[in-house]
């Protein structure tokens, strides 16, 4: 320690320097690749930049006013909300149903987990192609072939404005419910067996145990899944782009989600400013959803 005489540093100070040394590259990364782009997106949302022209004109709130009168925006927002409102509860219900049953199995649990989880890790583009093929019109599509074999009328599926959103939902729920199942399983494993033993001594039925013990104790898990799921479903994009024939969320915008409209506006019409405005809107929706979650989980703790 003698050579340290000149600049006496305590271990704590030394460690503080090490900590900053470890963090300097990551901090630069987060500033340059996360925070600066976020602010830049906000800035772009107040400009009419169209990528072709050199200058970015600051136009104030004009894009935001345009947003409110944009019928395609309203339509795609409606479609997105429809995916959240119908897709999420169905995939959560199925995820819970599966987790609930897998949880008290002695044998085969791992096999079932693998089967249900597989779609979640599958490439959404690959999955979208497979489902797109299943939904093709006769004589190509598998579902229509099956319908024909059963002497039932064939269906237009992806070519119908009423059936196509449903086809997208089926694909999405299929891909997503494995995630809900795994999280529900973790939640169920966290409930102490003693609660159930006590309930059984009191003569509670399975249904009563589910209502009085399982579901109330799963509340944090359910809140987590509702919020993360809402965010995931708000961002639906890949499956719709790859399932619609022109990659445009058709027919007639019936399946087009918000993110696909954002993509089209930026990278097909090159209206960067207006597209950025829509990403800000998406960000605000996600922020509100997240704040609600923090509120609920906080009141849970106290």
């Amino acid at each position: 320690m003698a050579h340290n005489m000149k600049k006496p540093r305590t271990l704590a100070q030394k460690n503080e320097l090490w900590a900053y040394a470890f963090l300097c590259v990551p901090i630069i990364f987060y500033v340059v690749v996360r925070f600066y782009p976020t602010l830049y997106a906000f800035y772009l949302s107040f400009t009419d930049w169209d990528i072709v022209s050199r200058d970015m004109d600051f136009i104030g709130l004009e894009n935001y006013f345009r947003l409110m009168g944009d019928s395609v925006f309203v339509k795609t927002l409606g479609n997105t909300i429809r995916y959240v409102v119908f897709g999420l509860p169905i995939s959560m219900f199925l995820g819970f149903l599966l987790a609930y049953h897998i949880n008290y199995l002695n044998r085969g649990a791992d096999l079932y987990k693998t089967i249900y989880f597989m779609p979640y890790i599958t490439s959404m583009v690959a999955a979208a192609w497979v489902w797109r093929w299943l939904f093709q019109p006769p004589p190509v599509g598998v579902f229509n072939n099956i319908l024909t074999a059963l002497n039932l009328p064939s269906q237009p599926f992806l070519r119908s404005t009423t059936q196509a959103p449903f086809a997208v939902l089926v694909t999405t729920v299929w891909a997503d419910l494995g995630f809900q199942m795994i999280i529900f399983l973790a939640g169920l494993k966290g409930i102490s067996e003693q609660y159930y033993e006590a309930a059984r001594i009191d003569g509670a039925s399975n249904m009563q145990q589910l209502q009085k013990i399982t579901l109330p104790l799963l509340k944090p898990t359910i809140v987590f899944l509702v919020i993360t799921g809402t965010i995931r479903y708000l961002r639906i994009f890949t499956q719709v782009m790859n399932m619609s024939t022109q990659g445009d969320g058709g027919p007639l915008n019936s399946t087009k989600p918000l993110v696909l409209y954002i993509y089209d506006t930026a990278f097909r019409s090159f209206e960067m400013g207006y597209s950025a405005t829509m990403t800000v809107a998406l960000f605000c929706i996600i922020l509100i959803v997240t704040l609600i979650q923090m509120r609920i989980t906080r009141s849970e703790d106290t």
Binding site: A19, A126, A127, N145
Partner: protein, 271 residues
């Protein structure tokens, strides 16, 4: 007796549902081994199975190139994420320093920013720096992640501080303590994070779609999404392509099942 009956019913429910979940995979794989009119046949087992689709896929068009691009990007991102996320996670778990809470909060808050909002600025940045159509351009946004940092901090938090002190007494510097003492003890977490980042990157679509416009620079998902152009919707080729895109992650999943489930479950429990 009653319990046994219930279990049989449970298995029936789970098997029925499982078959429905696997149905698209069955068709995908079965069709990828069929050719000609057999493609539209409803039989699950090809009568004359052939690997010709796979051979054609890998030798004609750009498929093998896309596969290699995805592999390279996936591996580079995974190594970067493993290194930086565990370093940052470790720092937040084991060091005291000024601004710690604020910096951690800021890093976590990046999880809330949707990629969709960042892609337009990234696109402008990458174009200005001539990063379009390069591996670096594809991977730079994903080199670190708030999620991975959070995950690694949870695991490093569980290590006893005595270990680090013992390392210090042995004369190791702080970097060596992290690499040689602590990293080997969080292998399970590292493999979970490795799988997450590889699978996530392998399946990433939006950003690679935006940043690459040369067909030879596509990643696998981007290439697949333009299959219409490459193979004129020959469904047996599309299914072979989808299978090749799916099989690597499935194999990874089967090998690291336990870690993946543990890692995902941990994120859920902690919120």
């Amino acid at each position: 007796m009653k319990i046994r009956k219930l279990h049989i019913l449970t298995h029936i429910l789970l098997i029925t549902f499982g078959l429905a979940m696997l149905f698209p995979f069955f068709w995908m794989i079965a069709t990828s081994f069929k050719q000609g009119r057999a493609v539209f046949n409803l039989s699950l087992i090809p009568t004359a199975p052939t690997t010709a689709n796979y051979v054609r896929l890998m030798t004609s068009g750009h498929f093998s190139r896309w596969f290699i691009n995805s592999l390279i990007c996936g591996i580079l991102v995974t190594f970067s994420v493993l290194f930086f996320d565990s370093l940052v996670g470790y720092t937040f778990a084991k060091y005291k320093f000024r601004g710690k809470k604020l910096i951690f909060l800021l890093i976590l808050s990046t999880m809330m920013i949707p990629t969709e909002m960042l892609v337009i600025p990234w696109y402008i940045m990458a174009n200005n720096l001539k990063w379009a159509n390069t591996y670096w351009g594809i991977i730079f946004p994903g080199l670190m992640s708030g999620f991975g940092t959070f995950l690694m901090r949870q695991f490093f938090d569980g290590l006893p501080n005595d270990l680090i002190d013992a390392g210090r007494i042995d004369g190791l510097n702080e970097f060596s303590i992290w690499v040689r003492v602590c990293m080997p003890l969080v292998k399970a977490a590292l493999s979970a994070l490795a799988i997450f980042s590889f699978v996530g990157n392998w399946n990433a679509f939006l950003w690679p779609l935006i940043i690459s416009d040369e067909i030879t620079k596509y990643t696998l998902p981007v290439g697949l999404s333009f299959f219409n152009g490459e193979f004129q919707t020959e469904w047996e080729m599309v299914m072979a392509g989808a299978s090749v895109a799916t099989i690597p992650v499935l194999v990874l999943y089967l090998i690291f099942q336990k870690q993946i489930i543990k890692g995902i479950a941990l994120t859920g429990v902690k919120g």
